[in-house]
Symmetry: C2
Subunit: 152 residues, 2 copies
DNA sequence: GTACAACATTTGTAGATACAAATATATAAA
DNA sequence: TTTATATATTTGTATCTACAAATGTTGTAC
């Protein structure tokens, strides 16, 4: 269904505005679906993202700033987000010995195991969410979004 | 820049997952930019959306459920959102005489004036945000998103 | 070395959100 | 007419988020 009908938006809305609304609405739907999956594992979307970033570090610990920079959805409050993950035993934090302003955050073994368990499920859910588009269409969509951002 | 580099995502990530992350990240950026504009008028994004929905009613009052159905980002708490707008004098609420379970919500004169003031600014901001894409590309992007959702 | 700016993170606080449970009204069945 | 069920909204609560201010650390100019 076209976005105008889905949200009953006026047909007179200019194309850029309509497109931006479309992106945001679609994003919302996708996020809701994904959040439902994560909820079964008692994780929020930002928590999951942090875990994945830490796994990507492959043993090299990450600072708070480093995590923030790479978050899809950068809350100003990465500290408390990490607190949550620590209380669940999924990550560890210690003060960086070289620069005591910094903090070194690492994913724990249980964190890695949890992600491992989630891997096939997230891939499957994402594949389902994107099932209406062909490979070519997905590529085009990616390119258009990259170009839209154009954060050269 | 490609999404992999922007968020330093693994190149091995499957295409559907990558695309969904791209949509969500792009959406986030757009929303942040737009929220900055609204903030000057002391409005949040959901508040603005509700105002626009009410204006679209053209005098016909809307129920809570009706608003929820059309929100880009449907918080479960439309009641308190509307409370906020009432306290700012931008909308009015009264109990529906025909069905007292329902509530009738309408935008006020000051609400309409505020939107009128915002109209050219939102159009301009959105045009800027989408400036990197041509008309054709915007159309393609819209179509792909509609197809992705495919909420037949 | 002391003073000052820059950096990295944490904390305080107000406001927003999600989810479940509660309230109140209307409709339908017995 | 009583009871049950569905509908529409509100409220309670815990959690999360945004933003600003505070804390502690490092680097640099004097």
């Amino acid at each position: 269904m076209e976005i105008e009908d889905t949200l009953k938006i006026s047909r007179e809305l200019d194309l850029p505005s309509k497109t931006l609304i479309n992106i945001q609405y679609t994003s919302r739907l996708l996020e809701e679906k994904f959040a439902a999956l994560l909820k079964e594992f008692d994780l929020s979307t930002p928590q999951f993202n942090v875990l994945r970033i830490l796994r990507g570090q492959k043993g090299k610990p990450a600072s708070l700033a480093c995590i923030q920079e790479r978050m899809v959805d950068r809350s100003s409050n990465t500290t408390r987000l990490v607190d949550k993950l620590i209380s669940k035993g999924l990550v560890e934090r210690r003060i960086c010995p070289a620069n005591r302003r910094k903090v070194e955050i690492e994913i724990t073994k249980p964190g890695l195991i949890l992600l491992k368990e989630l891997d096939p499920l997230t891939t499957k859910t994402n594949a389902e969410s994107a099932a209406n588009l062909t490979q070519d269409e997905l590529l085009t969509l990616n390119n258009l979004l990259d170009k839209l951002r154009n954060d050269e």
